[in-house]
Amino acid sequence: MNTKTILVGISSFALIAFVTLAVVVFAKPASFLGAAFGEPYPPAPEIELTRSDGSRFKLSEMRGNVELIFFGYTSCPDVCPTTLAELKLALSNLKEADAARVKVLFVTVDPKRDTPQRVQAYVNHFNESFIGLSGTEAELDKVWKDYGVFRLEMPGSSAAGYTVDHTARVTLIDQQGNMRVSFGFDTAVDDMVHDLKLILK
């Protein structure tokens, strides 16, 4: 082994050590895997709707919890059950105490057919802690607009009557009532769990 080889060896080692140190020291704090909202975080618009027992629901009264909001309808056989099943699975991957601080809200896009009782019965099928919400068309229209939800009744030949095209995105609201991250339909459950753990820290 000559001096040159030794020198090359030492300098390569030094370089690797330096890069490793730099990565550790300057690494950004862990970031969301879903689509993150930038700072300043937009405050979640108020939601005022009706629960299955007839009581009024106010989003602002949920402060301190984390909310996952999804817009769907109970006649929906594919996308809505898939999303609710994924949210159930995501919560089951959290510590029980953490999962208890996450409230899943399912807001209907189909007020003609979905009474608050019907929406609650539907979400109960996945998890009885999920909250199903409906209201008058005017109340819901405001919520859809505030949350940028697209929904359109599509007449068709289906025996199910009309179907409703709708935004299939889950929005996460933090303990302070700010919108922090949203998950598209294709988001992996593991990615949601990752982001939930970050926000619950």
Binding site: P77, D78, Y122, H125, F150, M154, R169
Partner: protein, 148 residues
């Protein structure tokens, strides 16, 4: 010299791995059949994979089930950020190829269930194919499928 031969062999394996695999079982098969739990009177969905190992192209024309008031073929499609459902008249399955019915895509829609579907339940449905004819399969209700 040997090194070159090994590299060539590796190259061929890689090439083979990248080719779409043709199914050559000689028969049309329906696999991994499941449905999500649903409440009575709600709508449900069935998912599966059709593998057409036969030499002829085939078409799924309809599905019959006695646990729903109507059974339809639908395709969920993402259009920008919103989901849209489109009823399908039929679904073709080319010879040697597979078609997957999965959440957020093709699905068999059970309209107006006549009973509750609980995890672990099973029920039969009959698929009507243009060439293969009738094929009765058993659906398992599952709440543990993570299709990520």
């Amino acid at each position: 010299m040997l090194k070159k031969q090994i590299l060539f062999l590796l190259y061929m394996i890689l090439l083979a791995a990248c080719q779409p695999v043709k199914i050559t079982t000689g028969v049309l098969d329906v696999k991994n059949i499941w449905a999500r739990p649903s409440a009575n009177r709600d709508n449900g969905a069935i998912y599966f994979m059709i593998e057409n190992g036969a030499t002829q192209n085939d078409t799924l024309l309809s599905v019959e089930a006695d646990i729903a008031t109507a059974v339809e073929l639908h395709l969920s499609e993402m259009e920008g950020d919103h989901m849209s459902m489109h009823q399908q008249d039929a679904v073709s399955v080319a010879a040697g190829e597979a078609v997957v019915f999965s959440p957020g895509g093709l699905h068999v829609m059970l309209v107006g269930l006549t009973r509750e579907l609980k995890a672990g339940d099973t029920f039969d449905v009959t698929l009507q194919f243009e060439i293969t004819g009738e094929k009765t399969v058993t659906v398992i209700v599952r709440d543990d499928v993570n299709d990520d």
